[in-house]
């Protein structure tokens, strides 16, 4: 007969109350947000100001305080998809390998003959030796620089791919080593982007890896993507190189291992420098904005001990020679070494204003990106547009909701009222679950909710129509209700599983807003089946027990 166990009743009501409790903070969005921010700030900094405490106490701590995250299209902010140029690292590795190899090979000049670097594509090191018949010996020496790669798939492979041909040894990173390097490059890039974004201190930035060599960055509340790009798009690769010549020709012919770079502040001046740096920005421990002796903005920096040692050795050996401070392939300045610098600290000055000096210091502190980041996709959404969308979505949801309720009540009377209450609970639960799992609500997500309003009643419609049919065969109202729920089940299950399949595919393949749609659709399906089947059933049964109607009309 028509009944539901007591524990089931308690469970159903409990789940509903829980869902609604988690949804409730969203009604007081601003206040709860201020509370959450204040709690986070106090926890992070330990500082308590009257404003922070007031904000924190604006919402009782024992209540749920999870909120639905608003997506960028609703809150406004910047979205960037960057691609890390992982191949640059191959080149850097080869360029760094060359001086070491040259030293090792030069030690055996007696047998190998003259050693020189030949022109080769980027990321490839080609070394020619004088005595071609001694090539096996050269290969042996080079092999000494190769390490075994430790990965799951690349076990047994070594880090360098070495080929001998004629009088030349061609060296590049092996495929296994490239894979390992790529992974490390992306991890480093992620870390550095994260540090740079954190320095600016915006709320809840999303920084995550996407695919093999991409980074997705979403920063809510930032004015424009260009602003964000200026911060994270700069490689900030700082090197100190020896200067081999100065000239006005950007296409001057240079030997292997040398490059021509433009001066940052002087139009038409180009320096020929040695491509292998003496010291790099990785060996910096600190950087601070300051002023030089002329009162112009500059950046003070300090090397770590090993950097200081290298820099000291180089400057003492090259007194009277110029050296170049190179930032992202531009020579910021090329001072002449007046005396050996052994203190391990120095200053970068050049044409920059105080804001630029400050940004450069931030970038140097956060560290250089291991490779350049190019941007494939960028989106800026203004906060007003987002607010407009929220308002429009809110109005549309309310109107849709009322219209659906009207249709249901007109069609099914009291049962329509039950379904409408269930629908309201359903809406609350969708927000509750979204808040609980910290999911992000996007504009298509709002559409997903509105669609759910329309579709949520489907399960109820199936049941009610079925009850109507069963009533015609006149088995008494209790039996009809019971059969109605029972027999509609198979159709409800099939219909919702197919929709779930779609939602899952959208979630896996979609990105950003589409993913948000998939999330609300999925949650909507689950909560609507629950409310439509169990909540309305509970209401129906409770009503039936009280009223004991001899006949019912659906």
């Amino acid at each position: 007969m028509l009944q539901i166990d007591r524990w089931k009743r308690i469970l159903i009501i409990g789940i509903c109350l829980l869902g609604l409790a988690y949804a409730m903070p969203n009604l007081f969005y601003k206040r709860v947000e201020a509370h959450n921010d204040a709690v986070a700030t106090i926890e992070k900094t330990g500082v308590t100001t009257p404003e922070l405490i007031a904000a924190r106490d604006g919402w009782p701590g024992w209540l749920p305080s999870g909120l639905v995250n608003l997506g960028l299209d609703l809150r406004g902010g910047a979205h960037l998809l960057g691609e890390v140029q992982v191949a640059e690292v191959y080149k850097a590795r080869m360029d760094a390998l060359w001086p070491e190899l040259r030293r090792a090979l030069a030690d055996e000049r007696a047998t190998l003959g003259a050693v020189r670097r030949a022109i080769a594509p980027e990321g490839v090191l080609k070394i020619e030796i004088g005595n071609a018949d001694q090539l096996p010996r050269a290969v042996e020496i080079v092999r000494g620089f190769s390490d075994p790669v430790t990965t799951l798939s690349g076990a047994g492979q070594s880090s360098l791919d070495i080929r001998a041909e004629g009088n030349a040894v061609t060296i590049q990173l092996s495929e296994a080593e490239k894979a390992v390097t790529d992974d490390r490059t992306i991890q480093q890039s992620l870390e550095i982007v994260r540090r740079r974004v954190d320095e600016v201190g915006t709320r809840e930035p999303t920084i995550m890896r996407q695919g093999s060599d991409r980074i997705l960055i979403q920063v809510p509340g930032i004015g424009s993507a260009a602003e964000l790009k200026a911060l994270i798009g700069t490689t900030a690769k700082l090197t100190f190189n020896s200067v081999l010549g100065t000239g006005g020709d950007p296409d001057a012919r240079v030997g292997p291992g040398q490059v021509v770079l433009p001066a940052a502040d002087q139009e038409g001046v180009y320096y020929t420098i040695d491509d292998s740096p003496v010291v790099t920005g990785e060996e910096l421990t600190d950087a601070l904005p300051s002023t030089d002796q002329n009162g112009m903005p500059s950046v003070d920096f300090r090397f770590n001990p090993s950097g200081a040692r290298k820099f000291g050795a180089y400057t003492s050996a090259n007194v009277g020679q110029p050296f170049a401070i190179v930032l992202d392939d531009q020579v910021i300045s090329a001072p002449v070494i007046r005396q050996a610098i052994t203190t391990g600290s120095g200053q970068i000055s050049g044409s920059m204003d105080f804001a630029e000096a400050n940004r450069l210091a931030v970038l140097l502190r956060a560290g250089a990106l291991p490779a350049e980041l190019t941007f494939l996709e960028e989106r800026t959404i203004g906060p007003e547009l987002g607010q407009d969308s929220i308002d429009a979505g809110r109005v549309a949801s309310a109107v849709g909701f009322v219209a659906v309720i009207a249709l249901m009540v007109l069609s099914y009377g009291l049962f329509g009222v039950f379904a409408s209450i269930a629908l309201a609970i359903n809406m609350g639960m969708i927000f509750g679950v979204l808040s609980m799992i910290g999911a992000t609500l996007t504009l298509p997500g709002i559409a997903g909710i509105v669609l759910t309003i329309g579709m949520a009643v489907d399960a109820n419609v199936l049941v009610f129509e079925r009850i109507r049919e069963e009533l015609r065969t006149a088995r008494g109202p209790a039996r009809a209700i019971e059969l109605g729920y029972e027999k509609a089940m198979s159709a409800i299950v099939d219909a919702n599983i197919t929709t779930l399949i779609i939602a899952a595919i959208l979630f896996v393949l979609g990105s950003g807003p589409v993913k948000g749609f998939a999330v609300t659709l999925t949650i909507g399906i689950v909560t609507s089946v629950f409310t439509a089947l169990w909540v309305t059933r509970l209401m129906t049964v409770t009503w039936f027990e009280r009223a004991r109607p001899r006949q019912i009309e659906v």
């Binding site: 249709l407 489907d458 109507r468 099939d494 219909a495 929709t499 779609i502």
Partner: protein, 325 residues
């Protein structure tokens, strides 16, 4: 409790196959027309799929498309499309336009200089202009997005047909797939006809249509399966009619509630998601039609094995056997 809104009378005996050939003809013609439109007109791809930049402008002054165009002319950006956006939710001082610049030859990444130049040029024309959103997608990403979108649609169709095949019979799966393909194709045809912007969210809309349409189809199939077991001797055609008639009230009611909610969103939800909502709304209409006409016609042609008694598989489905005599 006396009054009841009855969209469909209690007992209907429509012959849904009376116009069988007409409906098949209409469906086939619509699909054919869609293919032709897609080939001739093509889709109006948004930047998600074509690459390029869209800039949304908002101003207190009226939008002068001609002046905008003139201002951007000297920049030599190639194909620039400027459209004014109208929406009932806009205030009187809110004049919105959309500037779309196609992907620049030979540049993979997006150049901020171009965007800055465009913004400066537009500010010359109208000093009160603001740019509530700027979106750029490089050609590399857009290529991949197309690929992913096509996968998404195909994988969904495949997954659903497998599910239907497992739960019902293969004939039902074929019927479901044909009707889904019909819905997707015709919706795309409408997008080609009216040159509505086709972007990533449109794909989400297409998949939602697939989900909704299969929902409808499954409900009727479910009833058909039940009736096939109940009336072992009646011809398939009669049973199909019976099943559609029995579920007609539900079909109309659910489509009705969903449409009511969607129309609210279409009118009041703002212009940003209008294309998306339009696709879903249209799809629900076409999906309701196709599950009544297309899916069942296919199953009728293919026929269904009627001897259910020897099968044990269906006893596993929890509620279908409840009415067995």
């Amino acid at each position: 409790m006396a009054f009841r809104l009855k969209l469909v009378p209690d007992h209907t005996e429509f012959d849904f196959f009376r116009w069988q050939w007409l409906t098949v003809g209409i469906s086939a013609a619509m699909m054919l027309a869609s293919v032709v439109l897609l080939l001739l007109n093509g889709l109006n791809f948004g930047i998600d799929f074509k690459g390029g930049t869209t800039i949304r402008t908002e101003s207190t002054q009226a939008v002068d498309v001609g002046a905008y165009r003139e201002a951007l002319q000297p920049l030599g950006l190639g194909d620039v499309a400027i459209t004014e956006v109208f929406d009932p939710t806009f205030g009187p001082e809110q004049n919105v336009a959309q500037v779309r610049i196609s992907a620049q030859e030979g540049t993979e990444a997006v150049t901020p200089e171009t965007i800055a130049a465009v913004e400066a040029a537009l500010q010359e024309v109208d000093s009160s202009i603001t740019f509530p959103s700027v979106e750029s997608v490089g050609p590399k990403v857009s290529g991949e997005l197309i690929q992913t979108a096509i996968y998404a649609v195909l994988v969904s169709l495949a997954a659903i047909s497998v599910y239907i095949w497992l739960r019902f019979e293969w004939q039902f799966a074929v019927g479901a797939i044909v009707s889904l393909a019909h819905d997707v194709l015709v919706t795309m045809g409408v997008f080609a006809l009216f040159q509505i912007k086709f972007d990533l969210t449109t794909i989400a809309a297409l998949l939602t249509i697939v989900g909704y349409s299969i929902n409808d189809t499954v409900v009727v199939f479910d009833r058909l399966r039940e009736n096939l077991m109940k009336y072992k001797q009646r011809p398939l055609r009669d049973l199909m009619n019976l099943s559609v008639n029995e579920t007609l009230s539900r079909t109309v009611m659910t489509s009705g509630t969903t449409l009511v909610a969607l129309i609210a969103l279409l009118v009041l939800g703002g212009d940003v998601i209008r294309g998306f909502v339009f696709a879903i709304t249209f799809g629900i209409l076409i999906g309701t039609y196709s599950s009544v006409y297309v899916a069942k016609n296919v199953v009728l042609w293919l026929g269904v094995k009627r001897d259910w008694s020897k099968k044990t598989k269906d006893d596993a489905s929890p509620f279908s056997g409840a009415e067995a005599p």
